[in-house]
Symmetry: C2
Subunit: 391 residues, 2 copies
């Protein structure tokens, strides 16, 4: 059923107020004094920004912790009331729709999966709206309104227009996804590239909290990358950014599906690893699970394929680090299942490639199942709701 | 002689006022209506920001162009009065100090060069202060105060601390350059990495005006890169960023001075090209001028070295474009002297590497002699003066 609640207007009018809310959201509970320190605003500006948020119920004072303000300003830490509003995040893979209902703090309340066999836009969109409506009904049962829907799709996605220009995994071109889902659900819909959405969630609620510069590198069917530079998710002037999978790292490397030679993805994607194992071992390896088994059993050709993939990923991370100098690189994606097979090669290749102080960048891993990607889509919807869209 | 003028306080108190001034500075003359459009501020906010700048003489109304404001707001375009304040920019190369006197619009009034033979910090700093004092005297002759000095040095420079951590070309380590030059000149001194300083000048006064995302790639003795993402010059969390020269692009490539294999700089720097030509032709080629001559005379080994350099630069630009999606890449540096020899190879390699819409990035060249790099240092000083330092 479509939403019967009216979408509310979020009471934040200035960039300063927005900065205050985002800081409370991602780092709270925090006292106003600490909020002033972290946002670089005056205490008066913080107090002024917090007041309407408390009045509207989005921010609450936490319990008195015994500290009394000597100058009359409230000393209690403030935090976001996650239950004040709900959001829906949807991730579309090549064969499945995953939808989550989250609260305003992007905590997952419910997750639903629905596989599909045809990638026809109308069918997949039908599935997206069906799952969304189920979650809207669930939210109504909780007595809290859903304030927005986010949908994350891999490929070239224009968030401001709400259009999927090209999604190779789905074979979609120029689908006005936001408009179509919004027409069915009567809710504001934010469409974004899936890695970018995941990066927003990591920035506000995950491994990037407190980092002005970090990268999320996803390994698996493709090799993707979300970049945060100076506190903002990079989108690029033409909608393309973070294409770490297409960094040219080896002129003698295999030809990539993009047409270029020696791309990271042509060496380190699941299908590239499979192809190499088939060639080197002569075995008709069916899928990544079988490839992993072979490598874990010590088959030389299989181990070598993972080693070369690890090297390529490490060199690519070296390139990101030398260009942008992030504090942290978070490696994730379904390819993490093979992490023990390429961890050492990633580390060595990164160490060799990182220039000077850039090597101080921390490289970590973080398993992020597809529910987390759907949660990223919810984070994009939260961003829209609080009026903090990227420009 | 040290400055006898008191350094003024620039009348900009808020981020909005700063955005207004920078827009007038880099894109003026502009009407207040157009300023409001470009900054995204209200007309009232623009008028409020402009008033104190006019009162202090930094901004002036241009001649009445016949347009009358119907709602009572002044309709005349405003522009920065360049002659209101002067700045000094200094670029230190491996064997020369170049100093320029610029106005507030970063237009060069005078340029001075002084070669040096010893790179001892005390000697070079003595030369920097001597040139600076000559230019201060010249400014006094013009009756305008110098409000700041910028010094640009290649290598790992911590702008906020004013310290050159490591400059390989000069062999300097941990030199408190800002403090030393400031003690001698009695002026605020801003020290920055030379490519970053050049990028600031390009952003505000050069080939990057109006671009939210662009890159400056410098080719020559080293291969450097300044990056502007979402309107800000990238500095990195550990002081390292834009190290395009150390992107790993060929596992079979030559060993780089940084210790890694197949860096762009190991293939495309002046010395890498020279080394390759000597190896391939067996001739004791003395310098880049001779190498250029050989290539222009059609010597196969020499032409090949430039072709490989062009390919490496093109692939590196492809990497930047795939990660960051800039609108424009500006190629500059003393290596442009060989541009006819590698232009085609840059273009082809970039075209092959650029992914999807990222290929729409415009790749241009712009000769920027060392005076322009010194001007970049002046731009960094202007940034400090107007209170718009990077965070």
């Amino acid at each position: 059923m479509p939403s019967t609640y009216r979408v509310e207007t979020f009471p934040v009018a200035t960039p300063a107020a927005s900065a205050v809310f985002i800081t409370v959201l991602s780092q709270g509970p925090l006292t106003r004094v600490e909020l002033a320190r972290r946002t670089g605003l005056s205490s008066a500006a913080v107090t002024k920004a917090v007041r309407p948020l408390i009045e509207a119920g989005y921010v609450i004072e936490t319990e008195d912790d015994g500290v009394r303000a000597s100058v009359g300003r409230p000393a209690n830490p403030v935090q976001v009331d996650g239950g004040r509003a709900l959001f829906i995040g949807v991730k579309v893979t090549g064969d499945e729709v995953i939808a989550v209902l989250t609260d305003l703090c992007c905590r997952i309340r419910t997750a639903r999966h629905a596989p599909f066999t045809t990638q026809r836009p109308a069918d997949v969109i039908g599935l997206i709206t069906a799952l969304t409506e189920e979650l809207i009904a669930e939210a109504q049962g909780l007595g809290v309104a859903v304030q927005g829907v986010g949908v994350a799709v891999s490929g070239d996605v224009d968030r401001s227009a709400g259009v999927v220009h090209y999604s190779p995994f789905l074979g979609w071109r120029d689908i006005a996804l936001a408009e179509l889902v919004s027409a069915a659900t009567k809710l504001p819909v934010t469409v974004d590239n899936d890695v970018r959405a995941l990066t927003i969630a990591e920035q506000w609620f995950g491994g990037g909290v407190g980092c002005a510069n970090f990268a999320v590198v996803t390994v698996g069917a493709g090799i993707g990358c979300g970049l945060v530079v100076d506190g903002r998710v990079v989108s690029g002037s033409h909608g393309v950014a973070g294409e770490i999978g297409h960094l040219p790292i080896d002129p003698q490397g295999p030809v990539c599906h993009c047409g270029n030679t020696g791309c990271v993805e042509a060496i380190a994607s699941d299908s590239a690893i499979l192809r190499r194992i088939r060639e080197d071992t002569g075995r008709p390896v069916a899928d990544s699970a079988e490839a992993l088994q072979l490598a874990h059993a010590g088959t030389a050709g299989a181990r070598e394929a993972y080693a070369r993939a690890g090297e390529a990923i490490g060199r690519a991370i070296g390139a990101v680090v030398n260009l942008l100098g992030p504090e942290r690189v978070i490696i994730s994606g379904e390819g993490l299942a093979a992490y023990d097979l390429f961890a050492e090669h990633i580390r060595d290749a990164f160490g060799a490639a990182a220039f000077g102080a850039a090597a101080r960048c921390e490289v970590t891993t973080r398993p992020l199942p597809f529910e987390e990607w759907a949660r990223g889509a919810a984070a994009a919807a939260i961003q829209t709701f609080i009026g903090s869209e990227p420009r």
